[in-house]
């Protein structure tokens, strides 16, 4: 679903991502962990076509992101670490805007908006301007916007930040259901307990380089993910 090969991205002299390769297959929830400034967000932004990279390739569903960015972007949804949405729109207008961009028919979008907004308990606030939303409400709206076009691949940067426990639980269920239907999820997180319970595969990045990748069992063995992570960080 998502293949990242030898990705390198530099900011001036600094290599934010250094020769990183990852493969995310359909049905997988893939966790991406690392300390602050390790290169997680940069990798995710490169994978969704927001940032241009210096070397390497990104392919989504077999299509090269550099050659055919629009086709690739039609297959994916992205939720950034800080949901800076269009504050001047209401929640429902934002969702309709996203649905228009993805060409989702009126009936289908109406049904999906109803389903996900009810699920995340945001229906009553959809007519409110986004500027009046709390961080958690914006995050919920970003989640609905990501799910509205039923993408094959969902890429999320710290998706649980700001969500209340119930919404976090619901999002985890939505992630699992999405992958059970054949979709794939690639997300970064600092919450290692969540990653440990939720992810099929995990990758650990340090100073832009991939230092460990594999299934959860391969990465952590008999230890906890936290122990493995701290051990690798200390090296």
């Amino acid at each position: 679903m998502l293949n990242i090969e030898h990705l390198t991205k530099t900011y001036g002299e600094k290599k934010a991502v250094d020769d990183l390769s990852l493969h995310i297959r359909p049905g997988e929830i893939f966790g991406f962990i690392g300390h602050n400034g390790a290169g997680k967000s940069t990798t995710l932004k490169c994978a969704v076509g927001i940032l241009h990279f210096d070397a390497g390739t990104v392919t989504i569903g077999g299509k090269n992101l550099a050659d055919d960015p629009l086709s690739c972007k039609r297959e994916l949804a992205y939720i950034p670490d800080n949901p800076d949405l269009y504050d001047f729109m209401s929640g429902i207008k934002y969702l309709n805007f996203i649905a228009d961009i993805f060409g989702i028919g009126a009936d289908v979008r109406q049904e999906r908006i109803r389903h996900y907004a009810d699920l995340l308990e945001l229906t009553g606030d959809l007519a409110q301007p986004i500027s009046a939303y709390s961080h958690g409400m914006k995050q919920k709206l970003a989640v609905i916007a990501a799910w509205i076009h039923d993408p094959k691949l969902i890429i999320m940067d710290e998706p649980f930040v700001g969500l209340d426990p119930k919404a976090s639980h619901l999002l985890k269920e939505m992630m699992r259901q999405h992958c059970d239907k054949g979709g794939a999820i690639f997300f970064s997180t600092h919450v290692l307990e969540v990653a440990e319970k939720l992810c099929d595969k995990v990758a650990i990045i340090k100073q832009g380089k991939l230092i460990k990748v594999g299934t959860m069992e391969e990465v952590k063995g008999d230890d906890s993910l936290e122990e493995v992570f701290l051990e690798l960080e200390a090296e």
Binding site: S71, D100, I101, Q110, Q128
Partner: protein, 532 residues
């Protein structure tokens, strides 16, 4: 404690002088000094100078006929109006919507101290605005009537009374603005309308000021008697400046009483007001089937929503929407008379009136510069168009299209009005109708290109990209420069080839330039947008 809070308040008000929002860092000491010099020049030199001229015109004639009180009444009236309206929006945000109320109230600071700091801040700002009127008025009076101890003491007391009245009015008006704004639905449109009304009233009085002064001087005795008869209090108020001690005593007492009343009322309500969330009635969501849009349609709708959601954006980048039709209507009324005057004045330049009006319409079109800050206004939301399956070409074209839509139709309307009133050949009339809309298209594409070349994405207040960005300055002044060149060149050399070829050449030039800019946007512009 009060001093620390006051320092913080003033630092907030003058933040722009110390902090460069574009570069997101503190200004250098030299830059801070320069900004303050500019501020002083503007307040003392421009505003103060303007009111000094007014005082000079009024003071001597009224003083000579023993009606200096009317002079003070007029100047105090202007000072109170300017002070109250100048600081009302600051009062609204500073007193009732202060973002740091929660923080300050959580600190070991008495509530009264917080309130006092806020009120002193409002007082100082009001005093600044009213001072630029009243200080020159007092100085001019002392020069004209002579300096005596009574006049100086009463003058200083008058200044204190007026600035306190400004504070009282600011608090009441600020409270009213806060209450009204909570009830309003289309705040941005209403703010635009009120602001335009103020601007209109300002220019109306500015242009009428000389006539008004002359009228007051000529009919001073009549007006004086009317005021004395109908509003004796106003007469007494004016007498303060002349050194009338009973008047000083009465108004000092009344102002002190009202100030005490304000303090008591505000002490009781401040905590409640300061901690209220200002929440408006929640909009109820009613599910209904949405109208489907193409990606371009969606981007265009989004850009229009951005434009109409912000009073700042509409006021600073959309004045042409009103000015172009206003110009057209004005020309329908006065156009023929003007045409006759210009045909005599510019007899050596055939069709100069038509060409100059055409340049004028282009100039007004350039006042619509919504496209220039549009890329910058994406700000932290830039990830949305960059991560969605929508081409940068579509995004950029939608930004240009908004400016085209809000400009081409008003420009066409005004151009048709011009064509109806000018005495010219059918060819000139046709070109007059075509050129301004073509310029409007060129201007929109020019603004989009400039906005893309000079992006400013790390802003904290939208006014930075809208008003203070290089892109907007280049788009606006560059656009005006082109209009001046278009009009000026006709007067210099263009008239030799005649209006028809001249207008045709410029129409072709603008068309070609627009096509080149569009081509640039579709190719290099797309790459530039992706690299933002």
């Amino acid at each position: 404690m009060l001093k620390v809070l006051l320092k913080k308040q003033l630092a907030e008000v003058f933040k722009g002088y110390f902090f460069d929002a574009k570069k997101n860092k503190m200004r250098s000491k030299g830059a801070i000094v320069l900004w303050f010099i500019l501020f002083v020049v503007l307040m003392v030199g421009v505003l103060g100078g303007m009111f000094t001229m007014m005082a000079v015109g009024l003071c001597d004639p009224l003083n000579q006929v023993g009606m200096a009180w009317l002079y003070f009444l007029i100047m105090c009236g202007i000072a109170i109006l300017l002070g109250a309206f100048g600081s009302v929006f600051n009062t609204y945000s500073g007193l009732y919507l202060a973002k740091d109320n929660d923080l300050l109230l959580s600190l070991p600071i008495p509530v009264r101290t917080v309130m006092a700091a806020r009120l002193i801040n409002v007082y100082l700002l009001g005093a600044m605005y009213s001072g630029v009127v009243l200080l020159p008025a007092l100085i001019v009076y002392w020069v004209v009537a002579g300096v005596t101890a009574a006049r100086v003491i009463c003058g200083v007391l008058l200044l204190l009374i007026v600035t306190t009245i400004v504070l009282l009015l600011s608090c009441v008006l600020g409270w009213a603005v806060a209450k009204i704004s909570l009830k309003l639905k289309n705040k941005s449109f209403i703010t635009v309308l009120i602001s335009l009304a103020f601007i209109g009233a300002y220019y109306f009085f500015y242009f009428k000021a000389n006539d008004l002064i002359q009228d007051i001087i000529l009919n001073a005795a009549v007006y004086g008697e009317k005021v004395k008869g109908a509003a004796y209090g106003l007469y007494l108020f004016g007498r303060i400046g002349e050194g009338d001690w009973p008047a000083v005593a009465i108004f000092t007492g009344v102002t002190a009483l009202l100030s005490a009343l304000l303090w008591i009322v505000m002490s009781r309500s401040f905590l409640r007001v300061a901690t209220s969330t200002g929440a408006v009635k929640k909009a109820r969501y009613v599910e209904k089937q949405a109208r489907e849009n193409s990606p371009f349609g969606a981007m265009l709708t989004k850009e229009f929503a951005r434009f109409t959601s912000s009073a700042n954006y509409m006021l600073n980048c959309g004045l042409g929407v009103l000015l172009l039709p206003a110009m057209g209507i004005l020309l329908l009324i006065k156009g023929r008379d003007l045409d006759m005057v210009f045909s005599i004045l510019l007899a050596e330049y055939p069709d100069a009136f038509a060409v100059l009006l055409c340049a004028m319409l282009c100039l007004l079109s350039a006042m619509n510069d919504t496209a220039a800050p549009s890329v910058s206004l994406e700000g932290k939301s830039l990830w949305i168009p960059q991560s969605l399956p929508v081409s940068a070409k579509t995004v950029l074209r939608a930004k240009a299209a908004v400016q085209m839509i809000v400009t081409v139709l008003p420009a066409l309307f005004a151009a048709i009005c011009v064509a109806l009133v000018i005495e010219a050949s059918p060819a000139v009339k046709a070109l007059v109708c075509v050129l301004p809309p073509v310029y409007a298209v060129f201007s929109a594409l020019f603004g989009t290109v400039i906005g893309l070349k000079m992006p400013l994405l790390n802003w904290t207040n939208e006014i930075t990209p809208i008003k203070q960005s290089g892109a907007v300055a280049v788009a606006l002044f560059g656009g005006w420069g082109i209009c001046f060149a278009f009009g000026g060149l006709y007067m210099l050399i263009g008239h030799r080839i005649g209006a028809t070829p001249y207008l045709l050449i410029w129409t072709v030039l603008f068309t070609v330039a627009a096509l080149v800019l569009l081509r640039w946007l579709d190719t290099r512009g797309v790459k530039a947008f992706a690299e933002l």
